[in-house]
């Protein structure tokens, strides 16, 4: 199932030999105080330092690659592409850079034991180690700058492809953009170094994927973030994409070329969203290959799964996939997260959005459990979770948050499912709580609107794993929701039961008719549309 790998040689001591319990894992949940902390947790200073650093926007622009440059790099690497599998479309943003360069890097012992992190008895009072950039969460009104798009041949982008426009780095509307948090050059260099080391390790892991995919070590490494250069490939592996493609040869092309088209309503909704999906990303900012791919994948999925068709939100997730992998892989990755564990997202988007109601319920209860006093405050302000967290859940943070956070959440989400989503939500609340207590409804709404611009992704993720959330907490509220909403909980069974009953009735009628020698009954009976169920 693995794509051919031609570069580098595996270091036998790179994985698999250590004690897998090193991070204090017990039955898939974290013990309080034994979070999975990234390598640089050991350098405690770095976290504190990086919060209060002064910015230098010129440096940020200087270090960014141009989109054109990226494309050239992509084309060059096609020849000796290490990870290019069945790719037929070379339009995606990541994952095709030459990986060989990284193989010379000496492996170090970066999987160090995490520091013991003390669980704070009152998380609501704690704002130590805040990942929020204070300057980005001020509640007083924002800037009034106007913005008009400019025709630029090859816009400057960040490493994820978001366009860097110095005139438009702030503001609270418009959606996802390149990160607005300023990180010091030293910290940037350190992160790049860690990323390079991890890339080396991951290349070796990928080659031996079938053997190592279920180990705790692999899970720990995923939690630390999959290196961007191998991310697309690793996501494919986590989502079983190679298997799906193998089991459904030519299916994607069939769907694309199908004369059967989605309903007018679905088609319209897709088309209305195409140029409103990451309009600040180099691949999707203008009409062209990126937007075309996005439209094709979304239309194909609406045909593949007519019951869901298309729901707003899917566009952002699909577009993100397209920045990491070819079109066909992106389609199957979408099929995977929608229909298979551990993500199982399709219930979020079905008519009536039943699972969205459920995750909002679970989210609400978890916030209440961990932050009872804040919950009271939010309640008094009539501030309901659906007013700020709906889009967090519907797109797993994809549509507004900076990609250094989003992609790392997805690493973990693809491997482990929903727990990370609640973790991140609780982390936001935990570190925002001291502010939120002082705010009233209008300001709270504004605070959440501005939140994405204030996030330092890697730092946040590190904090997220320190939240003492357990799988059983989630299961508890999940069961409670099912008890309270039997119609939603049993909707699949109810639907299947009805379908089965009808099929049996039809079968019986046919048999009876045949016994009486009236073959003609068949057509009339079958004319009952199954869709009415």
């Amino acid at each position: 199932m693995l794509r051919k790998l031609t570069l580098g040689s595996r270091r036998d001591d790179d994985y698999g030999e250590r004690d897998e319990n090193e991070n204090g894992v017990v039955n898939g949940t974290l013990k309080p105080g034994e979070g999975f902390l990234p390598d640089y947790e050991d350098e405690g200073d770095a976290i504190v330092k990086s919060e209060f650093l002064s910015g230098d926007d010129r440096e940020r622009s200087k270090s960014a690659n141009s989109y054109k440059g990226k494309l050239e790099e992509t084309n060059e690497s096609n020849g000796n592409d290490a990870i290019n599998g069945s790719a037929s479309n070379g339009n995606y943003f990541h994952g095709r850079s030459s990986l060989g360069d990284d193989l010379g890097v000496d492996d170090d012992d970066s999987d160090q034991e995490p520091d013991d992190e003390e669980v704070l008895s009152d998380m609501e009072r704690d704002s130590k180690g805040n990942f929020l950039d204070e300057r980005r969460t001020t509640v007083a009104g924002g800037d009034n700058t106007s913005y008009s798009s400019k025709e630029v041949e090859a816009p400057l982008t960040d490493k994820y492809g978001f366009i860097i426009d110095p005139k438009n780095q702030t503001g609270s509307s418009g959606g996802a953009r390149t990160t607005q948090v300023t990180i010091s050059e030293k910290e940037k260099a350190r992160r790049a170094e860690v990323e390079a080391l991890r890339t080396t390790k991951w290349l070796a892991m990928i080659k031996d994927w079938d053997n190592i995919k279920d180990t705790k070590r692999t899970r720990n490494r995923i939690r630390k973030g999959v290196p961007d250069k191998v991310r697309g490939l690793v996501w494919n592996l986590l989502g079983n994409v190679p298997t799906l493609i193998k089991e459904n040869p030519g299916r994607y092309t069939e769907l694309c070329e199908s004369t059967h088209i989605p309903s007018q309503d679905i088609r319209d909704t897709i088309l209305r969203d195409i140029n409103r999906t990451f309009p600040r990303h180099a691949m999707f900012a203008k009409e062209g290959e990126g937007q075309d791919s996005l439209r094709r994948v979304l239309v194909a999925y609406s045909l593949y799964d007519e019951e869901v068709g298309y729901c707003q939100g899917l566009g952002f997730i699909t577009a993100m996939f397209l920045t990491y992998m070819p079109e066909e892989e992106a389609f199957w990755q979408l099929v995977g997260i929608m229909n298979h564990g551990p993500c199982c997202m399709r219930g979020l988007y079905e008519d009536g959005m039943p699972e969205a109601q459920k995750v909002l319920y679970i989210g609400e209860k978890l916030i209440k459990k961990f932050f009872p006093r804040l919950t009271k405050h939010l309640g008094r302000q009539n501030c309901h979770i659906s007013m700020y967290a709906t889009q967090w859940f519907l797109t797993i943070f994809t549509n507004t948050f900076p990609f250094d956070m989003v992609t790392q959440v997805w690493d973990c989400f693809l491997a482990e499912g929903w727990k990370i989503v609640y973790r991140v939500m609780l982390t936001f609340i935990r570190y925002s709580a001291p502010k939120l207590f002082r705010l009233e409804f209008e300001q709270i709404m504004f605070f959440f609107k501005q939140l994405p611009g204030a996030i330092d992704g890697p730092l946040l993720m590190e904090k997220a794993f320190g939240i003492p959330l357990k799988t059983r907490h989630i299961e508890h509220y999940s069961k409670k929701f099912d008890t309270l909403n039997p119609d939603i909980a049993n909707r699949v069974q109810i639907k299947e039961q009805k379908k089965k009953e009808q099929e049996e009735r039809i079968k019986k009628e046919i048999e009876e008719a045949e016994a009486r020698g009236e073959g003609g009954v068949l057509t009339t009976t079958l004319s009952i549309p199954l869709a009415e169920l």
């Binding site: 503001g171 509307s173 418009g174 209305r272 969203d273 409103r276 309009p279 007013m387």
Partner: protein, 206 residues
């Protein structure tokens, strides 16, 4: 006085842009799809009354209503937005009027906004049809452009005026009706069937 307004309409007609332009005087050429109801407010003066407009922006896709009828259930007013270059989007306005009548009742004040008037050359929606429809359901109609900041003040002021008057009338109902100083329009009464209209609030104003 706190007044709740909800922005409704087909996707991509410019609901979010209208809100940002009106409340913060910001305009983003590249605006993303809206996925969750979002809130903004603004103080507005109608005659001697200062009211706080609490405006809710909503997602365009119908499916999302499963998550939030709460946003329009107790609204005092609705701004139904369509895009003058997109005839389908006007059909959606008709659907919304029916839906609001069903859920909220006849009390809700409705203003219809034909957005993107800066793209007049690409107009697809007939002016005559729109004005007649607006009149028939007792709604005011305005042309707007979030991009060029046209018509928005007028649009929200009209809606606010109606809502303030309605509220004051309700509050002073016992005294047999109350006309606030400086109020310009008369009270709009909309009946449940959406047919007859008893006031002069309707019609085009463009």
């Amino acid at each position: 006085m706190r007044l709740k307004v909800v922005l409704l309409g087909e996707g991509r007609v410019g609901k979010t842009s209208i809100l940002f332009r009106y409340i913060r005087n910001e305009f983003q050429e590249k605006q993303q799809s809206t996925l969750q109801a979002s809130y903004m407010d603004k103080k507005i003066k109608v005659g001697t009354t200062t009211a706080q407009l609490s405006v809710w922006d909503t997602a365009g896709q119908e499916r999302f209503h499963a998550l939030g009828p709460i946003y329009y259930r107790d609204a005092d007013g609705a701004l139904l937005v369509y895009d003058i270059t997109d005839s389908e989007s006007f059909t959606k306005v008709r659907k919304w009027v029916k839906e609001l009548r069903k859920i909220v009742g006849g009390d809700i004040n409705i203003v219809i906004a034909g957005n993107k008037i800066d793209l007049e050359r690409n107009r697809q929606v007939e002016e005559k049809e729109v004005l007649e429809y607006a009149k028939s359901v007792g709604a005011t109609h305005f042309y707007t452009s979030a991009k060029q900041n046209l018509g928005l003040e007028e649009c929200f002021t009209d809606l606010a005026t109606k809502m303030v008057q309605q509220n004051l009338t309700k509050l002073q109902g016992l005294a047999g009706g109350f006309q606030p100083k400086g109020g310009k329009s008369k009270l709009v009464v909309v009946d449940d069937t959406g047919e007859g209209k008893k006031s002069s609030g309707g019609g085009g104003c463009c």
